[in-house]
Amino acid sequence: MKPALQLDDLTICYNRHPAVHHLSGAFHRGSLTAIVGPNGAGKSTLLKAIMGLLPVTTGRIDHAALAPSEIAYLPQQAQIDRSFPITVLDVVMLGHWQRISVLRAVTTQLRDQAVAALAAVELVDFQRRPIRSLSAGQFQRVLFARMLLQDARLILLDEPFTAIDARTTADLLNVVRTWHDQQRTVIAVLHDLEQVRVHFPETLLMARSSIAWGQTAQVLTPENLQRARQMAEAWDEQALLCGVNP
């Protein structure tokens, strides 16, 4: 079976300096993968490139099996204006975009589904609240409810639990597990290794290039983590041209 997402010798650069360097591998359908690595390892860059938000320098990202509408993405620092005058239910309803688009009406059925999604993240009483009255954790629940409605086959989460309390994290991890049980492909950038060991069967440990990729227990070994840490974070201004042929 074709994987949900295949990376072929992928390099992504900022100003010719690679943030992701000759990365190859595949995310299999229905897999639940954590991406782990030090700051500056290219984790967020990889997700953005998968979403088509950054140009690929060389190599290829192949998600031919999936239409763009089948991919949902939760950015690390969404450019969301949280003071915007909009209600919780309206935000969640945006998850229906593929069905309502610009002009189509919101039916009672769609609205009920949105309320059910809010119930799944335990915010059902918040429907009419303006979003600016929510805490960071509550707002993250709202964004998860919106992703529930998007019904995507591939779900990309960039540090979804940073600055989120333990209970909210546990609840949202439950949502992730539900997605996994429904055979959706989920990729999450994470920093909490304990969390990764408990909840994520597969891990990609990267530091620009892949240090290890596979079963979490085999990837997160002390030796691999040590190698990832040694990666120099700063750009080398005098870096030589990369000798690997594209």
Partner: protein
């Protein structure tokens, strides 16, 4: 005078909602920038055809749109922030406008373009203003949903809809159109006032975008009406009278507004249990 009143009504209806969206996009000052950018186009139109509304409007529209597009393109392709690119292009445009007027016209002409004369509105300009207002409201109704998403969470719109930025462009065109509609009545300098002041005031009265837009349109229409009456009876210039009326509405809203207004905020009230 009757024509002037109708023109103000139409202007207010279109400018109010556009202003609210500008404010929510944190582009309040970009409206200002665009209003200055309109100047060279209007000036060229003025020099070619004299005080002809059609020529000045067309020129102003072209100039405003050029600045908006160039600034948008620079932001899109270089990553420079939109406020900086807008400032750069509007300043060039403004300087060019003043240069054109001062080399070829008199300072009286400049004053006309800068401050407008609503009492000189004729049937043709009335139809223009009314058409722009209708077009604005219709377009806003159609692209309301993506426009709001683009405002609130641009990353999301980008991920679910190709060509999300097209709505931004359509909106910028509406802004320029409304400024052009306003400049003959209020002048290029003050046209943006009827957009931003009612919008800024409406924020103190409403919690959702549609109600905010309705309140803003209401305040804009009322300011036009009251300002015009003041200018007529007290023999004041119409533009400043209208904008100052809108300014009064803004000041009153800051104090009395139900959403975060000063009175609500500082009136001692017992806090709730949870």
């Amino acid at each position: 005078m009757r024509r002037a009143l109708v023109a103000c009504l139409a202007l207010g209806l279109g400018c109010g909602p556009v202003g609210v969206l500008l404010m929510l996009r944190r582009m309040s000052l970009m409206g200002d920038a665009l209003s200055h950018a309109v100047l060279p186009g209007a000036a060229i139109g003025f020099l070619i055809a004299g005080f002809s509304l059609a020529a000045m409007s067309l020129g102003g529209f072209a100039a405003g749109l050029t600045v908006a597009l160039l600034a948008g393109l620079v932001t899109r392709f270089t990553g420079q922030r939109e406020d900086a690119s807008f400032a750069a292009f509007y300043l060039m445009s403004l300087a060019l406008g003043v240069l054109i007027v001062s080399t070829r016209g008199s300072s009286v002409d400049l004053l006309h373009v800068l401050f407008g004369t609503i009492l000189a509105v004729d049937d043709a300009s009335l139809i223009l203003v009314a058409s722009i207002a209708s077009l604005t409201l219709l377009t806003l109704a159609v692209i309301y949903r993506p426009l709001i998403v683009e405002c609130f969470d641009p990353g999301f719109l980008q991920s679910v809809q190709a060509w999300g930025t097209a709505y931004h462009l359509a909106f910028l065109i509406l802004v320029v159109l409304n400024l052009v509609a306003g400049f003959q009545a209020l002048g290029t300098l003050m046209a943006v006032g009827l957009m931003m002041l009612p919008a800024a005031a409406a924020r103190f009265w409403a919690q959702e975008v549609w109600s905010m837009a309705a309140v803003a349109a209401g305040i804009a229409v009322l300011s036009g009406y009251i300002g015009l009456l003041l200018s007529y009876h007290a023999n004041l210039p119409s533009g400043p009278a209208i904008i100052l009326t809108a300014g009064m509405a803004y000041l009153l809203s800051i104090v009395l507004g139900t959403q975060d207004g000063l009175l609500v905020r500082f009136l001692p009230r017992q806090h709730l249990q949870a």
